[in-house]
């Protein structure tokens, strides 16, 4: 059961970060009429896949990924996309305070009841980690009674060992088509994966069906804060 929210704020560094484990949830909120703001910090300029035959160069990739992201947002029914203009793989080198301020401004403007981002320490990519740290810091500075909930995505190999199992599990059966469309929209990143996924879904592979249908989040554990 996905609870209705006042406003949902999504903060992620790369186009496609939303697609894998959040897009069904986003589509579900939009279906309920919940406003969703998605701040995407970079255009994934450093993506390695240029295709064989090539569909992009290092220099044209950002515009291709921007178009893919817009298409994915359309599939999810998301109409408040913010492109924040940072460069892929550089977030951890930005001034930390500037990153916190960016999240604070987004929170102040959208007044979300729920923020979705990555889990600091358990999100593998340096940009995911830098984003997660900024989000946690911004919310931590708020008065406890005014804080939005924070659902965090974690997928490091030691996640289960350290954090246990996710406490928030969304069954997105009703928006599975939107999710698959969002995944497909990020073609430059997902074309090989989708081929395999389509085959497995057609064969009703139980593991893959579960993977698509259930989106898993951890409520941020403020009693075990990362710093």
């Amino acid at each position: 059961m996905i609870k209705k929210e006042r406003h949902v704020l999504i903060v992620l560094p790369h186009p496609d970060d939303e697609a894998f484990g959040i897009s069904g949830t986003i589509a579900a909120y939009r279906k309920m009429g919940v406003p969703v703001t998605y701040a995407c910090l970079t255009l994934g300029e450093m993506g390695r896949n240029l295709g064989n035959p090539q569909f992009a160069t290092r220099e044209t990739l950002p515009q291709i990924r921007k178009a893919e992201l817009e298409k994915a947002c359309e599939a999810m029914g998301l109409d408040d996309l913010r492109l924040m203009g940072f460069r892929d793989k550089t977030l951890e080198f930005e001034d930390d305070e500037k990153m916190v301020k960016l999240v604070e401004d987004l929170i102040q403007e959208s007044n979300p009841s729920l923020v979705i981002s990555f889990y600091p320490g358990y999100s593998v990519h340096p940009d995911h980690e830098a984003t997660a740290r900024a989000v946690v810091r911004a919310i931590r500075r708020m008065d406890e009674t005014n804080r939005p909930k924070l659902y965090a995505v974690a997928f490091a190999n030691n996640t289960e060992e350290d954090l246990g199992t996710p406490d928030i599990i969304h069954d997105i059966q009703d928006t599975i088509e939107q999710k698959l469309a969002a995944l497909r929209a990020h073609e430059s990143q997902t074309v090989w994966m989708m081929k395999e996924l389509d085959e497995k879904l057609a064969a009703k592979d139980p593991e893959r069906m579960k993977w698509v249908r259930y989106e898993r989040f951890f409520s941020y554990k403020w009693d075990k804060d990362f710093e």
């Binding site: 240029l50 064989n52 090539q54 290092r58 220099e59 203009g85 593998v124 990519h125 190999n157």
Partner: protein, 116 residues
Amino acid sequence: MEIVNQEHVQELLTSFANKDVYIHLETTNGSYASHFKEGFLNAGAFIRNVVIKFELGKIVGDSPHRVGLKLPSGWIYAQGITHYTVDEHDRLLLAGLDHEGKLSVALHISETPFTY
């Protein structure tokens, strides 16, 4: 991009010699290399929009090629170059792409700055 035509790339490199040019140089294993293979030392380097002037540029070897730029008091080189193109802004883009089309190395040379 096309498979490197060594003669053509050599001509292009020479055309940028002795001018102020902007450089993009990058090597990468991808950000997930040590996630998929624990213990893997994920190393790489990145520079972008650094202005240099080289006196000699050469492409050497069979594919994957090496490309070296000799500076008045230093060097820039890249290895693993397989593909090239001259884009609509007359920038020379050299790349090392594996069989799946994944980029491992890039060396770009331009007379105008690259985007951010």
